[in-house]
């Protein structure tokens, strides 16, 4: 049973569903941890063979959290999770979408060589799932000043080997804006956090991840640590909190300031 661990934080009393937790290195785990520290009650989701991994990870949170089975591409499972949350909490105050997947052929370094079905699969899991999640949980969030937060990666440029995941992240941010338009009337905010590279299990499968992370760590005016997801988690918790109540349809860049500069510090000197 999940419990709030703080009675004084910015998320005190908030009921938050967090998808995409895998290991302790995952951004979703860092968000869950920070959210609990800020007073939120948290339930996680995972699915299939990743679920035992997520359940182990969930035991490492400040307050061990329950992990529900949820494949975001499965309408039946989305409906079941909505029912379970309705029974458990009656409503929802926050949802974190931290799910993405691309098969190797969708990150081969050559966009044109990706089979159509692999490109569509990547888009379905990584982008369309945000809209499915929002649709399934909309009623639970309505009228609660709720917040839906998704995780992106710098999508205004093309990266080596990121390919269809990069395309899907750009679309995720666009989908977030359209959801902001559609759900604003229900008092639901929809924003994205565009995170600098974090060495998660998923990221380790991106062929050029090390080169991209090296670039961030050289360029970031504030510095960047690929092994620390907490700065990203802090921004996500801000977006989940009432402190961001006037924001929707936005993408917050949490990258140590990389996006603001063109060259590494030593190259500028």
């Amino acid at each position: 049973m999940s419990v709030a661990v703080s009675d004084a934080g910015a998320l005190f009393g908030k009921r938050v569903l967090i998808t995409g937790v895998s290991t302790k290195q995952s951004i979703a785990f860092a968000i869950a941890s920070e959210a609990q520290e800020a007073g939120a009650e948290v339930v996680l989701t995972s699915f299939d063979r990743m679920r035992p991994v997520a359940e182990r990870t969930a035991m490492c949170l400040p307050a061990p959290a329950e992990v529900l089975e949820l494949d975001l591409t499965d309408e039946g499972q989305l409906a079941r999770v909505a029912d379970e949350l309705r029974e458990r909490w009656g409503g929802l105050d926050g949802v974190v979408h931290a799910v993405a997947y691309a098969p190797p052929e969708a990150m081969s370094g050559e966009l044109c060589s990706t089979p159509v079905e692999s490109a569509c699969g990547t888009f379905n899991v990584s982008t369309v799932s945000l809209v499915r999640l929002a649709s399934a949980l909309r009623e639970l969030m309505r009228g609660n000043d709720a917040s839906l937060v998704s995780l992106s990666f710098e999508s205004s440029v093309a990266w080596p080997s990121y390919d269809w995941m990069g395309v899907s992240k750009a679309a995720l941010e666009a989908a977030s804006r359209y959801l902001a338009r559609d759900l604003g009337g229900d008092g639901i905010r929809v924003n994205s956090v565009s995170a600098g590279p974090v060495l998660t299990v998923a990221a380790s499968r991106i062929p050029a991840f090390a080169a991209i992370a090296d670039s961030y760590e050289r360029r970031a005016p504030l510095g960047w640590d690929r092994s620390d997801a907490r700065p990203v988690a802090g921004a996500a918790c801000f977006l989940l909190s009432g402190w961001s109540r006037g924001m929707t349809g936005q993408t917050l860049h949490v990258d140590g300031g990389c996006r603001a500069v063109g060259l590494a510090r030593e190259a500028r000197a």
Binding site: S22, T23, Q25, M50, V53, R56, L199, V201, S204
Partner: protein, 79 residues
């Protein structure tokens, strides 16, 4: 039994369980041949941390191909 032997035993026991075989796995066995994939290795990193307090990030197993590669990575984190 020293630390290395103890860790090797944990690794081999876990890999045998993941592979679903009851015979010993020699170092030259290819992971793909016993249907051990990256998700199994994520679970292995958690088992190592829970049972032996050896912190091996799942990402450390990215390039492993054989049982021996896995053992080498884990031993590398004992040094």
């Amino acid at each position: 039994m020293n630390d290395t032997q103890s860790i090797d035993r944990v690794v081999l026991t876990a890999l045998r369980s993941m592979a679903g075989v009851d015979r010993p796995l020699s170092p030259d066995v290819q992971l793909v041949d016993v249907e051990i994939d990256s998700l199994d290795l994520v679970e292995l990193s958690q088992i190592l941390e829970e049972e032996n307090e050896v912190g091996v990030a799942a990402s450390a197993f990215t390039d492993v191909l054989s049982v021996g590669d896995v053992i080498d990575v884990v031993r590398g984190h004992l040094a």
